[in-house]
């Protein structure tokens, strides 16, 4: 085979600068940015011109106007005499509370489902499969309606409420519970709970460090009992052991006093967490199955029990696989809260892109507010989960 003898160390031929890939890439990108900016400018100016031509008010001045409507659920105080801005914050808090509770329950149910799916017990793993396949394959909106009417239809009206021992009542207006009144003793007791929690966490951390240093398991259950029950109990008794309760009582159309969990919140929470839990379950299962069998076998050889293998060997490693897709599910849960508007849960779509938009006519502004909210929430969830992921990665390697 002929071999060329000309090949040797040689300066590359001089290139004209505009053909260099870095310069070319920069030019293309600059051009693209310019094009996108132009498009945005065109859309904005065109919109403004259209609005002005039709004499439609624009701008965010409406946020200072009196809202004039009431909502059923508000974790902030909100009423007709507050401003639209206050209404926006009410919607934000309502949505965040729903999303946070949803994520909490979806995670718990999802992890249990994932563990059940890999269980050697035939019945348990089949039940988990049926659950996942059912809830994963039905549209969420339909599930929300299902839960809403499944709660409303069978429950009696307020006058025939189901009485639950302990002063609670259940009817189709909601679940009415006695509400503890925060008198002096109760406040001190709450403080004691907080102090006990910090104490127990501290002791648990110390125990873990001991275990990691010596390899000996250290019991911590009694510290938790002392911190969460013993200390608050002591404070409660020493302040007179009084319980101030606001007990719901039937008055006119409905129960008053106490606290209430409305069917809208209950149905939205059930719908969201049950639906997302199905996806979380699959993610947990794939995470667990993604860990090499050798890890389990090695742990078995060392005499660990099944529970210990899961807790100390498989799950910590599986978390690395689980967390990234879990983030997506949390984000989708937060965004799916918008569907709860259909069952009268007053969240962003209902209050901002619904009532506020129609009463003020500021469609662009209200939709922009709603979009900004969802983007912020999604990015925040991603940031928190990335941090969590980073910590898991650091520890597990």
């Amino acid at each position: 085979m002929p071999v060329s003898r000309d090949i040797g160390p040689q300066a590359p031929p001089r290139q004209p600068f505009w053909t260099r890939s870095r310069i070319r890439a920069a030019v293309v990108q600059l051009g693209f940015v310019a094009l996108v900016s132009l498009l945005i400018y065109f859309l904005l100016s065109n919109t403004m011109a259209n609005l002005a031509r039709q004499g439609i008010a624009s701008g965010f001045g409406f946020l200072g106007q009196r809202a004039g409507f009431d909502v059923s659920i508000s974790f902030l105080e909100f009423g007709r005499n507050d401003t639209y801005l206050r209404g926006f914050w009410t919607a934000v808090v309502n949505t965040l509370v729903l999303a946070a509770l949803g994520i909490f329950f979806a995670t718990i149910i999802g992890f249990l489902l994932g563990l059940a799916r890999v269980s050697p017990n035939w019945l348990i793993s089949r039940l988990a499969t049926v659950y996942i396949e059912t809830f994963r394959n039905i549209p969420l909106l339909l599930q929300l309606f299902f839960w809403y009417f499944a709660i409303l239809r069978p429950l009696p009206g307020p006058r025939d409420s189901v009485e639950i021992p302990g002063g609670a009542f259940l009817n189709n207006r909601g679940l009415y519970l006695p509400k503890p009144l925060l008198d002096h003793g109760a406040q001190l007791t709450l403080l004691a709970v907080a102090a006990g929690l910090v104490f127990a966490l501290f002791m648990a951390r110390r125990a873990r460090m001991r275990r990691e240093a010596t390899g000996q398991p250290v019991a911590v259950a009694h510290w938790w009992a002392l911190g969460l029950l013993g200390l608050p109990g002591l404070v409660w008794f020493s302040t007179g052991a009084t319980v101030g309760l606001s007990v719901p009582a039937l008055q006119g159309f409905n129960y008053r006093g106490g606290m209430v969990m409305l069917p809208e919140l209950l149905a939205a929470l059930l719908g969201l967490s049950v639906y997302i839990a199905a996806a979380v379950g699959e993610i947990v299962r794939s995470g667990i199955e993604g860990i090499d069998r050798g890890q389990t076998e090695a742990a078995q050889a060392m005499g660990h029990t099944r529970g210990q293998i899961m807790r100390f060997v498989v799950i910590p490693q599986a978390m690395r696989i689980i967390i990234p897709p879990l983030t997506t599910q949390y984000q989708s849960l937060a965004k799916n809260t918008s569907l709860a508007a259909a069952i009268a849960f007053p969240e962003i779509i209902s209050i901002i892109a619904g009532t506020t938009m129609t009463q003020t006519g500021q469609a662009l502004e209200t939709i922009a507010l709603a979009m900004a909210f969802y983007v912020t929430v999604s990015l925040s969830i991603a940031a928190v989960m990335n941090f969590f992921n980073w910590r898991v990665m650091r520890r597990a390697i």
């Binding site: 100016s45 004499g55 007709r80 189709n172 409905n254 007053p346 129609t358 009463q359």
Partner: protein, 339 residues
Amino acid sequence: MKTTSILTSVFALSLAAGGMAAAQTLEEVRERGHLNCGVSPGVPGFSNPDDAGNWAGFDVEVCRAVAAAVLEDADAVRYTPLSNTERFTAIQSGEIDMLSRTTTRTLNRDTALGLNFAPVMFYDGQGFMVREAMDVSSVMELDGATVCTSAGSTTELNLADFFEANGMSYEPVRFDRADEVLAAYDAGRCDVYTSDRSGLAARRLVMNDPSEHVMLPETISKEPLAPGVPHGDDQWFDIVSWTVYALIAAEEYGITRDNVDEMAMSDDPNISRMLGGEGSAVGEWIGLDNKWVHRALAAVGNYGEIFERHIGPDSPLGIERGLNALYTDGGLHYAMPFK
């Protein structure tokens, strides 16, 4: 879902060509060959698909009358069912040419929202419906009640104002879509269902057991329901407005769907002029041909006929004329002269 359609409308608002010349809706409609009309998504008597799947009802007839006047074909209408929150965005963005959808005329909508309202088609007011078994006979007994209502309606605001003015409390349950309000009230979520009285009468028909529910006697608001068009096109505004006047004037003159051809030969100069008789300029003035009123009446009949056909005492809704009678009969309908 509704959010998607609102987003579409919002983008349409951004993309619509800027600086459109005024008075072009008519040309657009003619070029397109059909009228885009926004209606309610299913209110019996007002706008509801009939057995054959065609839209029918009191509000729908206005769309048909305008289509007959402008396009010479009452069926050349494409209906867009709109929820409370969708309706104004749809008209602002030009998705529909007119809105004929139980919409209350208010200052805010007439100005800041960019709508012009044609004459009132139906004088309504907000009422309350409760279960007969509750034994309530007045709105003033509703302190502490749970109330189901539509979000984004005048109803929602009147409700808050009314309970505030009377020092009473209530718990609102707000839905975007009217059929969801109905379903929740029917399932027992609320003690009270509030809406325009006509709407309550219409929706009671589709409840599980209509006889279980009664309307309270009080009317707490003025709800003049009128067709709307977008700001900025005076000619189109005139066409829709005077089509409504034509329906009312026709009842006054006794012109009906059946006798309109004979009446066109009438010796009464007022009738002859309106129906495009000799020397009439009703078409020239408004930018249509002289037979536009004639065609609209031949298609849908006069106001009284439309009322009787869809919502009157002999229809399932059984609404009395009341305020909606002609001014000559003690009502409020008064057409401006066709001169």
